[in-house]
């Protein structure tokens, strides 16, 4: 599965507080209503914690959720 890149996945200024590590853009598996996506998102390279920024959640992600709901 190819990895999708989205400009909204920008987490400038945030770092992992738990590991005190800078975030990296890494492929993340997302799932909704039986559909799977591989998206490059800001992730803590040590603990794999994924950050979903506000812009992404309310923008692209919301659009895709609606598209999938209408399928």
């Amino acid at each position: 599965m190819s990895v999708i890149k989205v400009p909204e996945a920008d987490a400038a200024g945030w770092k992992c507080d738990t590991c005190n590590a800078e975030l990296e853009q890494l492929p993340v598996e997302l799932e909704y209503l039986d559909s799977l996506f591989n998206v490059e998102l800001p992730v803590c390279p040590k603990c794999d914690m994924v950050l979903i920024p506000e812009n992404l959640a309310l923008g692209k992600m919301n659009q895709v959720e609606h598209l999938l709901e209408d399928k």
Binding site: D17, L26, E29, L33, P45, V50, M61, H66, E69, D70
Partner: protein, 754 residues
Amino acid sequence: MEQAELRKWEHKCIQEETPQCTAACPLHVDARTFCSLMGQRRWDKAWSVLARTLPLPGVLARLCDAPCRNECVRKDAGGGIEIGLLERFCADNAKPVPPPRPLPSRGKSTAVLGGDLAGLCATWELARRGFDVTLYCTTPGKDLLGLPQATLPEGVLERELENLAKLGAKIESDRAVDEALLNTALEEKDAVFLASDALAEALSDLGDPDELTLGTGRSGLFAAPRGETSPILKAAAGRRAANSMERFTQGVSLVANRELEGPYKTRLYTNIAGEEPAPPVIPDGGYNEVEARDEAKRCLQCECMECVKNCEYLKHFKSYPKVYVRQIYNNESIVMGTRQANTMINSCMLCGLCKEICPEDFPMAEVCLQARRTLVDTGTMPPSAHEFALRDMAFANGPKAALVRHAPGEDSSEYVFFPGCQLTASDPENVEAAYADLRKRLGKVGLMLLCCSAPAEWSGRQALMNEAMDDIKQQWKALGSPRIIVSCPTCLKTLRQGLPEAEVSSHWSLFRALGLPESAAGQNTSLAINDPCAARHDTVLLEDVRDLLEQLGVSVVEPKLSGQYTECCGYGGLLDSANPELGKAVRERRSKAAEEDFVTYCAMCRDMLAKTGKHALHFYDLLYPGRENAGARPSPGYSARRENRARLKEKLLADLWREAGQAEKAPFESVAVEFTETALQNMEERRILKGDVQKVLLQTQKTGKRFVHKETGHFLASHRPVIVTYWVEYEEKNGGFLVHNTWSHRMHVRGAGS
């Protein structure tokens, strides 16, 4: 939805029915489109509309006696449109167009005997249909030759005769139309039309031609009605005969399905209330360009759209029920691919206004509710559409908010008060006051703090609805099946349907019987009444509240849409949950229905109106006053609504039943949290509850997992309690949390792939 059902619904919506003018026109000219183009001074385009339908358009447009004018809807608002004059202007000013292309030859030969207008028109119609046609006459257009130049300018008839030839018709002029010619024609040709009255005497034994078919006693011979003088009716006879000859030569029924051939009654309804009367533009001579345009612009462009004009929802999706019902049918037929109508189906307020307004009673609510049930049954209902509202219903029926008791100190109930879950959420103080008043006046009045299960019904979840109603029934029976007193019109309707064995009374009828409470304050003010949509058909309820308002001294102002025709506040049918933006537009529209402050008797209507900034009172505010400026009270947010319910239960248990703090608190509820203004606003808009935020904070306290911002020092944590993932941006403050922002998504993060 079965196809037969689709057809039934489609038939009910009359928006696409023929306008009165076209239906009244013996040739069914599209006068509405013609006027629209004339109103834009697009003479050439307008002419092509006439030329598409009229035979010999240059002649007929100038002679048309416009019977449509008597049926024109404009006749009651100034006078029917002067189509005849407009046709003449168009004929004089538009560029002529070539005749239509005839259909491929049918290999059938016909004859027309007699060259008057009926004969010429029949010849035109037959040639157009691909018949081999010969016109026998002394002089073509004989009955037109005496017309003044002003009526039929020189050269017009000649040009149309040339067009007849271009259509392939043969014209044999200088032929006497006699019995010998008729007999030869009947022998040689497949069908014959006798247009002139010339042979009337000879044919008198055949009688008048049949009205429907123009057939005569002789097989294959069709004849014009005798003595016809109206040019348009002569042309119509020509067309009717051509249709009959077509059927005759094909060997099919001459009579079946011809109801719509001549003038007929159309079902299209056009409301002209509020239309300014405008008299026709009658020129001294013919029209000039401006006069023609102005006259054409008087055309009302008839359509129905009654429901769409009165409903923000129907307007929003840019069409009308006939189209919507087809979209819903198609939506259900989709196996793979996008169902484009889901949002439309889930956005109807189910308020029933369209059915009241529609001349044919089209019920969009019925169609949409059925479609929702199908979506639920087939597992294709979008999960996000109603989830928030159903969670709210579950909360109202859950241990935090639900309460069912006999009156304090009693072990039986003659009555039980059912205030409804939205009144308890919006205004717990008045629920307390009303309950106290009822106990004082009626004694053994129990209490039921529950949701009536309307949200389950609206969301199309019948199983959930039945389950919830069963629960209510069990608890009501446990109280000894007392008479139920209900103030919310939706609860009233839902409980009467769901509990037919119960006696369900309206609190408002009770007030009328018992009198107003002592606390009721006389008013000397004007208020606009807002009837909730659930009260639409409850004439007793509509009367009760008006009578009570009068008793209070309120001068009641009726909005344009009121009583049976009231419009929704935007909450009905869970619109506000499925399509918040449209919900907002609907409540904004309703808030503008009156200048005065509103008074209503539904807590949701009150809150929806209050959300727009409009002052709105719940009727209880007048009966149990105690709050300054109650009409300006803001609508409580989603979290506050839950807290109000929970607190009301706790307070009533403590004050009335002397039971303290029995509800166990979940651990997240103890998380101390405050919010910035932005955070609160975002929570309302994004439908995120305080409890959702507290759960995230509790989770991050446990796991220590969170992000930190390098500049602001804010923390960011997330948690997915069930389906939705919540994100909370916060700082730690005074041993608690100050939340700056919060958002959510439904997509599940399965994990980073490292």
